[in-house]
């Protein structure tokens, strides 16, 4: 039963890798990177639940929390850079 979480995480990771390489559009690539991040976080949290005691392991929870905030700020910077880049391409 707990292997299904890992399987879901691997499916998300491989699917978003394919779309990240294939898509030419910026927005699609950004969405693919975010889904890739969510898949990796799912792997972490599934590992955290995989303990014999009934409390889940809090160390992967803290790492995933950090990861989500860093992913959002990196997405914001990427959006800013891509808007600037597309404006420069328009003016050429």
């Amino acid at each position: 039963m707990k292997e299904l979480y890992y399987l879901l995480s691997f499916l998300l990771i491989s699917m978003s890798t394919y779309y990240f390489i294939t898509a030419i559009n910026f927005v699609k690539r950004l969405i693919a990177v975010n889904i890739l991040g969510s898949g990796v976080f799912l792997f972490f949290v599934a590992t955290a639940k995989n303990t014999p005691s009934e409390n889940p392991d809090p160390v992967p929870h803290a790492l995933v929390l950090t990861g989500i905030v860093v992913a959002v700020s990196a997405t914001a910077l990427a959006v800013s850079l891509l808007l600037h880049l597309s404006k420069q391409r328009e003016e050429e």
């Binding site: 990771i13 294939t22 559009n25 803290a62 929390l65 914001a76 959006v79």
Partner: protein, 288 residues
Amino acid sequence: MLDIIIGLLMLLSAFASLQNKDLLKSGVFFVVFGFMSGLLWIRLSAPDIAMVEIILGSAITSILIFKLSKGVRDIAVKPEIWRKLWAGAGSLVLFVFLTFYLFTVREEERVGGLVFEKLSLSGVESPVTAVLLNFRGYDTLLEVGVITLAAIGILALEPKRKIYEWNDIVVWRFSKMFLPIIALFSLYITYLGAFSVGGAFQGGSLLAGGLAFLSLSGQKLPIRENPTLFLAMLSLAVFVAFAFAYALVGYGFLTYPLELSTLSIMLIEISICLSTGLLLYIAIRGRL
């Protein structure tokens, strides 16, 4: 059974988001994906992560994606067939390579037991907050540094013209009415992180959500630029000041003494809450 339904919905919405030609529909399916992902965190006994994922990962990321898809011109180029082929082969190899892990999955006690043993020495009662701000405080310090750097980069790339003209007075009035309640509640959730579900980033993301609603009305926060910048950069300053102060006094870099640990954690958490909210507001608006 419920997990299977949530997992299938996650896969379907991720596939629909990535496969769609229209950028707007991709964004909408991405919101659904983020929401299902948040539900899965709750099923996996991680309520702190669920709060942060639904607000930041689903709502705020999709605001940014919609803003980007409004500002760029659509590139109508199809990828060549060899690109699809080697991308497909590569991701298939990756999937098979990762699936080998499924044969070695073991249920073992990792570092979690150590955390629960030393929890009384950390100054807070919630294990996630203890790990986040005491046992692995370096990660949080560098994370605050990363989000501050991202905000500085966004401020440096400030556009000279607006991406969209949006001026909605009803939304502005309502967001002005609700913003004090949201700010109070976010501080309450930050305080609650010491002994229950909550913490600095949950409160900060709640404040960011309220400020995002304000910025969607087209108006900005009625505070002048210098105080806003000061409050936004405050958490990095407070965190680094605490780290160096404890180093100078003699305890070690970012090592709290046992009596002052609760007080230090609470002060650092409040500053992180305020700053994260304001930094994400700057990131959504694109300007100060």
